[in-house]
């Protein structure tokens, strides 16, 4: 397989020369690139919508992904995007020196280090449903199943120590 120097399609059956035609962008090598550089031909192909040339495109083929893989910069494309990643609020509870028992505290105090007597944490669960709700921390034993039923599945954390 050969790579087309115009559109960067990697599945060319024949080398890009001797009047072979790229089935992706339709460039005929030795003819189309006589008068125009590969960069110019690429720009023209992109300007025309970067469409597949011969018959139907392979399943899942995407011209923009093909160009990105070849490190063609965003500036050469007909669209420009800026993107940013966001997540849901992060809750964190620091626990140390735990003893058996049950502690209930307000969600607003998340991040507060819970000072408890020395003991070994065996299992604990945490419910963080919303900013205003009350959260419950269980320690010193298995989390009671019934106690976490009401918690939102995505916000329930349970770790084995």
């Amino acid at each position: 397989m050969y790579t087309c120097p115009v559109c960067y399609f990697t599945g060319m059956q024949d080398p890009p020369m001797n009047y072979n035609i790229c089935e992706c962008c339709g460039t005929e090598f030795g003819n189309d690139d006589e008068m125009h550089s590969h960069e110019e031909l690429r720009a023209k192909w992109i300007e025309g919508g970067a469409k597949w040339f011969f018959r139907s495109a392979p399943i899942g083929w995407n011209p923009w992904t093909q160009l990105f893989k070849a490190n063609v910069s965003m500036g050469q494309l007909p669209y420009e995007t800026a993107f940013s990643l966001y997540g849901s609020p992060l809750y964190e509870i620091k626990m140390s020196s735990l003893s058996s028992g049950l502690l209930t505290y307000d969600a607003a105090s998340i991040g507060y280090e819970i000072p408890l007597a020395e003991a070994q944490l065996t299992f604990w669960g945490m419910e963080v449903p919303s900013k205003d709700a009350t959260s419950t921390v269980y320690y010193g034993g298995p989390v009671p199943e019934t106690q976490i039923i009401s918690a939102r599945a995505t916000n329930v954390l349970a770790f084995a120590a």
């Binding site: 919508g49 970067a50 399943i59 899942g60 995407n62 011209p63 923009w64 992904t65 990105f68 893989k69 965003m74 007909p78 669209y79 420009e80 995007t81 800026a82 993107f83 940013s84 990643l85 966001y86 997540g87 849901s88």
Partner: protein, 159 residues
């Protein structure tokens, strides 16, 4: 039957060379895309490199069995954006976990909605796991109005 214990889409998977321990960087939850100029082409993608990480838990009886893991990325429009196939097999010396990650170029951004990452083991029912993250479009930011020098001076004097 192997159990899928971790499935996540993230910006990067870093694997420790010595211990082969993976670390996931920036697990995707939501991606805001700001369209800068012309309308997006039908199959527009964001030039993002990202990864899908999967960890399977196996039982001792499943040692030596070869599994074929399939990963499918579904765009918000419902089309298959990418597919991958990986062979999983744990040997006697391995522990009972099998991890893999694939690197993907581009995120389909033409349509708002959830991008779904589907993972399953070929030929084994009930092994499908799904992870999804949201792609949202934001309106193009308006350039801030910058007052001319005279206007700016006048405002300062007024203040």
């Amino acid at each position: 039957m192997p159990k899928l214990t971790i499935l996540a889409a993230c910006e990067k998977v870093i694997v420790d060379r010595v211990a082969s321990l993976p670390s996931l960087i920036s697990i995707f939850q939501r991606m805001n895309v700001q369209i800068q100029d012309a309308p997006l082409p039908e199959n527009a993608v964001s030039p993002t490199r990202w990864s899908v990480f999967a960890l399977w838990q196996l039982t001792p009886e499943e040692r030596g069995i070869e599994y074929v893991q399939r990963i499918e990325i579904i765009s918000p429009a419902g089309d298959t954006f990418a597919e991958a196939k990986t062979t999983l097999k744990i040997s006697e010396v391995d522990d009972l976990q099998s991890k893999s990650h694939i690197d993907i170029i581009g995120i389909p951004i033409n349509t708002e909605g959830f991008i779904k990452v589907r993972v399953w083991l070929e030929g084994i029912a009930d092994t499908t796991g799904e992870y999804q993250f949201m792609v949202s479009h934001l309106p193009k930011a308006k350039p801030e109005e910058v007052p001319s020098t005279e206007e700016g001076e006048a405002r300062i004097l007024e203040a």
